[in-house]
Symmetry: C2
Subunit: 243 residues, 2 copies
């Protein structure tokens, strides 16, 4: 009988949005060194897209997404997840409160992006393409402080392009999403930043066929890689206690 | 506050294989008429690729995949799935035994394909591109009896191409998987069949960029459509009892 390699179970709090969750799961599969099914990463997914829109909740001061996300977290916990990932940047506005309720490690997407920036030896300014909610919550600005010099946020004109790109992807319109997303990336390249973070999991789908890839950091890929590393690492289970 | 539409929860017994599961989830998203996240289908996934290989188990008379699949089914049941789908054709060898253990409807992938054939007014012979395990189990032959005249199974030469295509996709080699898969489809077209069923969820990935799409039926799409219909249908919950 073949030896089944040890893999830790990844719990995915997804559905925010549904296509972004699929993109994330795909990037986990693509990031895994595996020749057979059995070497891949085991995953349980809570993919309930009925969770209220995160960005508009932050903007209006509503806490509506918190309890539905907490329910998803409890489900993943109850079913044995060893590590948890949330493939939605904006949802990380509630990260601290979610993390405080569980002993399970939740990989923060901005930490995964920070590790990627460190590996690329970022020195200067990085730009943030994200929902208004993610920008308002300051979650990237906080987590990247000390790693990058400046986090540049788009002006109102570019932010409107970002909003349009995300909305188009959520509605299944890749062509419109791609056009608006590319225009936003171009504007930021012209502003002279060193790296551009796609800090909304819809944006990598919008830019799937774009040629503008130099200096662009995909937060979905960063989180997927962090999950594969966490799943394949030697188990953290303690040794049996001496008598 | 926006009205959240009623959606039944789809439980996916996946991971067999991991890329095929992602492809299936993607086809659910693409098959759903939705303009916002909240209109999409809610999903929970048990995606544990460590379940032993189904095709070699059938060929060697082993029952090894049954209990791990049953554990996955129990997890989906415990977490409120209203309908269950298994995006692995070969795993349906154990369908009857799994279905007998639960009151929840498990959509049979061959029934989803049969509905597709009926809608296309199939009259003659259909060919089955599948693992040796699926062919040996006779699950399509049984479920399609009465709907199609003849189910054609490949000869040894073509089956070897199918085996190679599936193995290449499981190992992440889309180019090799595509070449072998196309050669198999071409051989079957030349044999004069009316429709060709891609009855292994790895095969649609192998043929993703193929031009040979006429008469080809993707079992993954058929199952995804059946799930969306099941999720969006009016709830089967009984009315409150009188008195």
């Amino acid at each position: 009988m073949a030896i089944v390699p040890h893999r830790r179970l990844i719990g995915v709090l997804g559905g925010m949005g549904p296509a972004a969750t699929v993109d994330f799961l795909n990037k986990i599969v693509l990031s895994t060194p595996a020749g057979t099914d059995q070497e891949h990463v085991p995953i349980i997914l809570h993919g309930v897209p009925q969770i209220p829109d995160r960005s508009s909740a932050i903007e209006s001061g509503s806490d509506a997404p918190f309890l539905p996300m907490l329910a998803g977290l409890r489900m993943l916990e109850r079913n044995g997840a060893d590590v948890i990932a949330i493939p939605c940047n904006t949802a990380h506005h509630w990260y601290d409160r979610l993390a405080r309720t569980t002993a399970i490690d939740i990989i923060h997407i901005a930490d995964a992006v920070r590790d990627e920036l460190v590996s690329r030896k970022s020195l200067g300014a990085v730009a943030l393409l994200a929902t208004r909610g993610t920008i308002a919550s300051g979650l990237y600005q906080t987590r990247l402080a000390g790693t990058v010099d400046t986090v540049v946020v788009p002006d109102e004109h570019v932010q409107q392009l970002v909003d349009a790109s995300i909305a188009a992807i959520k509605a299944g319109d890749e062509r419109a999403g791609g056009a608006a997303g590319e225009a936003a990336v171009l504007a930021l390249i012209e502003s002279g930043v060193e790296f551009i973070i796609l800090a909304c999991t819809e944006l990598p789908m919008a830019l799937r066929h774009s040629q503008l890839t130099a200096g662009v950091i995909d937060s979905t890929v960063a989180l997927a890689r962090a999950c594969v590393i966490a799943s394949m690492a030697v188990s953290r289970a303690p040794l049996a206690r001496a008598g």
